[in-house]
């Protein structure tokens, strides 16, 4: 399915957020994930299925003041 992830179009080969995170090579990272502007807790990443056209944001901590 096609998704928009951090502003870019991406084709996901799996179904869940965990699948997306794995496809991006980010499994185990400290991340927060939003789907269509709703935060999905880490504990649900393996359960929540994504849908065609979903808009996903994946964020992490960087240096800042």
């Amino acid at each position: 399915m096609k998704l928009t992830v951090n502003g870019d179009t991406l084709t996901l080969d799996g179904n869940t957020i965990a699948d997306l995170v794995a496809q991006l090579g980010l499994t185990g990272r400290r991340l927060a994930v939003e789907v269509n502007r709703e935060i999905i807790p880490k504990s649900l990443h393996g359960d929540v299925a994504l849908n065609e056209g979903d808009v996903v944001e994946i964020v992490h901590a960087i240096g800042g003041g």
Partner: protein
């Protein structure tokens, strides 16, 4: 002497809060923070790079949340809505951590706080259970309002973010501190160690800075200087300075001089 800073029921030995932006690399970030003695450090929340650098290092591996109080900021947010969303992402990212630095900016030229949006965001965050340390201007009335809403620390600017111009309005900072019942942290504007000491001599409870260390010629050495400046300024404030006088007052006895 025990002289601890308490923010949201947690005590800190250090009154210096350090930002993690603008360093050469994560090693320098870590070394500067360690040298500064800071126990609380700010971070920003941004999109993760996807499709590249999958093995990219993570800031939080260098400043572990088990060791430091991580203070996620809302830098780059220009509306209350953006800032609230950013804080919620930070809370999820940091496993329910609810202490945040709220800053809602007015424009890119000054990064001056947008006060109407800051007040709106602070209320929404407090209602949602966040503990809010809030970046604001040096207006004593706004500071009082933010305290009354329930912000756990009020953080007036010394001067513009990243400007290094020092404490431009010490009188107003002092007015804010005089009436405050929550910690007052000077946030932004400190350029060098004497600025940090001066902020503490005004009676402020702490100083938050980033560029003054990160953009120093030798950041780790400046981190050491800041640690000492904060401690010296604090002791100087607690000791109470001598009164200013218009004319000289000899320090050596005037009697018994050989003539």
């Amino acid at each position: 002497m025990s002289d601890l800073l308490t923010i949201a029921d947690k005590t800190y030995q250090s009154r210096l809060i350090i930002g993690t932006g603008k360093y050469k690399d994560f090693n320098e970030t870590r070394d500067a923070i360690e040298t500064s003695g800071a126990e609380m450090v700010t971070v920003a929340i941004r999109r993760t790079n996807i499709g590249q650098n999958a093995d990219e290092e993570n800031l939080l591996d260098y400043i572990p949340p088990e060791k430091y109080t991580i203070l996620p900021n809302t830098a780059g947010c220009y509306t209350a809505e953006e800032a609230v969303r950013c804080c919620k992402l930070a809370r999820e990212l940091l496993d329910g951590h609810d202490l945040v630095k709220l800053e809602v900016l007015g424009d890119q030229k000054t990064l001056y706080p947008n006060i109407p949006h800051t007040l709106k965001a602070a209320q929404a965050l407090i209602d949602d259970g966040f503990k809010v340390m809030v970046y604001t201007n040096d207006d004593p009335i706004v500071a009082k309002e933010l305290e009354a809403m329930g912000c756990v620390a009020v953080m007036p600017l010394g001067s513009l973010i990243g400007s290094g111009l020092g404490i431009l309005n010490p009188h107003y900072i002092q007015l804010i501190k005089e009436d405050a019942n929550v910690p007052i942290i000077v946030d932004a504007g400190v350029g060098t160690a004497s600025d940090a000491a001066f902020a503490m001599e005004l009676g402020c409870d702490g100083v938050l800075l980033n560029s003054a260390i990160a953009h120093a010629g030798n950041p780790v050495l400046m981190a050491s200087a800041m640690k000492k400046a904060i401690a010296a300024g604090r002791e100087s404030f607690l000791a109470g300075r001598m009164p200013r006088k218009a004319y000289a007052s000899a320090s050596s006895p005037l009697e018994g001089i050989s003539r």
